[in-house]
Symmetry: C4
Subunit: 238 residues, 4 copies
């Protein structure tokens, strides 16, 4: 009768098992200032399971047994097939879960959500200078080569213009799902969506890709803020 | 006849015992720049005892045996019942102690005091632009959801305006107690009070809440300073 | 028949062996923000071998077995003698390799490539205020003593003007080789070349020199950006 | 015949022995950005010996056997009595040594030299706005309580004005000794001297005092630069 809560799903000796990897990633993201004050989150899909860090927990102190697990049957399944098959009794699931799932449905293997101040500041600067419908644009910076041009299209070239769509924030995080999905449709090549006054969602086909793309984007946001302060334009067009 | 100094109160194998936890927290706060040069401090209430880090000690090097312990009898007791029942012989108690106690009397389980530069800069900017009686205000930033609206009232909503009162600094830290208590009465929902040109006191019902609320506030102060530099208003009202 | 891939070249108990040292350096560089998102790289020459970190790998997670090794016969050899004698099967060689080799041909023992934002910002400020042909110049800062005046010429003096040439970036990193070599000829005393909108290459006769020179230069770039913001000139001439 | 080089002076099981403590401090100072690129240094006096970190070594990698030791006979001795009684064969003594000794002659037990960018920027701002003879002044910031008012005079009060003299840099570090000693005479209460375009020397009666005073000063320099950017005056007088 043991393990009614599927605890075996979060018990592994493999340091790269999602239940071990998410806590390690979150600790690293904490030191980068991405998940301060329980903000942000991370999710990994592995075969038929999706692992999600819980809500409201100090991200640098997370442990494997704190992970939520959803069933994620393949091949193409009805959305109703998704359900929590493991819940830590004393924790709440992350409000980001539907947003992570939106990325997984587009083939992602890992999705990272940060509250990076550079991301927030970029959304504010874009709004101030280009208005609400505009997306973040930058070109002619080497680091944009660290962001893919789209699924199967390789990485951005140095002279390409990287565009990251920005959606408006909502009072409840789960209500972002619809506009996030819309942005994913309008920008089918993007691997990230900025959320105004909130942060960013970045995904990739595996953990390494999601993490390094998130790093490259954060580098570009920080550089863009510094460039703005020094009155240097983000693209060659000005 | 041993242990006249109640050394047993700071000896525990539990890593989360206050005598072990305060040094670990202080080391983390040091790396965040909150307790540079012996500044700042941390206190935890546990049952009938209050643990306080000593004054004038390098915060990243603290050890359990450096902790002061006060008796804190419950239920409601006369203030005279509070007294040090353990004092490290070679150390001085923190001048913050009466301020920590003011938080504990309002139900806090942990109180953190930082000298964060972002907190100090915010108090200076508020004074310059809104005058001495004004409090810090920010709204429409996701991270304010990490700060509670008041005891039993849940967290701030995205569109709510977070207000943190600011009191004037005094030459002697213990003299802050009266104005801190007055601010607590005027802002009964606040979990923090800024001290102009000095830093901040943040409290919560337990260590995790006090710490994550302190992180969320510090995030907001840093963002507010950066927003000010970029001529972005802190609230939608401007 | 074992070891057809020369795995023995990356197996050593010596912590300072290039195969062990490059991962340790890359981890440190990651924490300095120099190799975010798989950017940047490091190469060490040891006797007849050149060790290079692979492309597209998380720099803080590198392992000895991830290293590429080139044969580098001495004395003076035909360029055709350089070839990979060890390739990790699942990794791609770094596009920086020809650039690292250019430094080794000028006597370097170690070459470091970073995407430091301070380096990038300095290249943008120099272009904006002095145009495309200009190099970065700074004088009268103590830290320039940490940068050599040229091979066999000792370190810069406090009143000397340190000059670092800047070359234009190219869409493909290997295409930088020609202009890098030209800059090395025009500035035969330099130990570094900045790449506009990209980063920097720094070399030295051994690992310690390359690393500390890279640190001193990065310190100077950061200081120069801060000085510019405070309207302080980089040289006494203004 | 063993130990002609007095190696026993740097061999101790006590983690707080100067030969063990200096490497640990230097590693911490490296992570604070104070001793980048082999810059800066630290020295401790213990009884009849003065321990000094060597010149030109990566500060985060120092080891006890890298320490230089000078004889420092007490009571009052002729300056000629000071001499190196232990020299690591492959290293050069620090050019800061005469500057450290100047502090020890005034009763210091530890002296720290950093190249902190905040210190350098403060010296540049003071020169620009107040001219070459001026010293750094700040008041009405809580952290100035972390800096002593003078030997035997306790710490600065909140409303006191903290003054740190600034001397001009010289091409050779040892040539700073005379002006450093002159500043120590003109400001007999100071525990620190800034060096324009170079960094700072901070001392204290023991390691903890020197280190925490250095931290408090660096905090104040950083805050002062940020205040300047936000057009906030350093003292109430403006």
């Amino acid at each position: 009768m043991a393990d009614q809560n599927n605890d075996h799903l979060v018990q592994s000796d493999d340091p790269d098992h999602p239940a071990n990897l998410i806590p390690r990633l979150c600790k690293q993201f904490y030191s980068l200032g991405w998940v301060t004050g329980t903000g942000g989150g991370t999710s990994i899909r592995k075969d038929e399971h999706v692992y999600v860090a819980p809500s409201g927990v100090q991200k640098e102190l997370m442990r494997p047994e704190n992970m939520f697990v959803l069933s994620y049957p393949t091949p193409k399944y009805p959305p109703t097939a998704r359900r929590y098959i493991r819940k830590p009794l004393d924790l709440k699931p992350s409000a980001c879960t539907p947003l992570f799932l939106a990325a997984f449905e587009r083939g992602a293997g890992c999705c990272i959500h940060t509250h990076s101040q550079w991301a927030v500041l970029v959304t504010l600067l874009v709004e101030k200078f280009h208005g609400k419908g505009a997306c973040f644009e930058i070109s002619d910076i080497e680091q944009i080569k660290g962001v893919p041009k789209g699924p199967g299209k390789g990485m951005h070239g140095f002279h390409d213009t990287l565009r990251v769509p920005i959606i408006e924030n909502t009072p409840f995080e789960e209500d972002l799902t619809e506009s996030l999905e819309k942005a994913m449709e309008q920008f089918p090549d993007t691997c990230a969506v900025l959320v105004r006054r909130h942060g960013i969602y970045v995904w990739g086909s595996d953990v390494a890709k999601a993490k390094t793309q998130c790093e490259s984007l954060d580098y570009l946001f920080q550089l863009a803020v510094e460039m703005h302060r020094l009155e240097l334009p983000w693209t060659q067009r000005g």
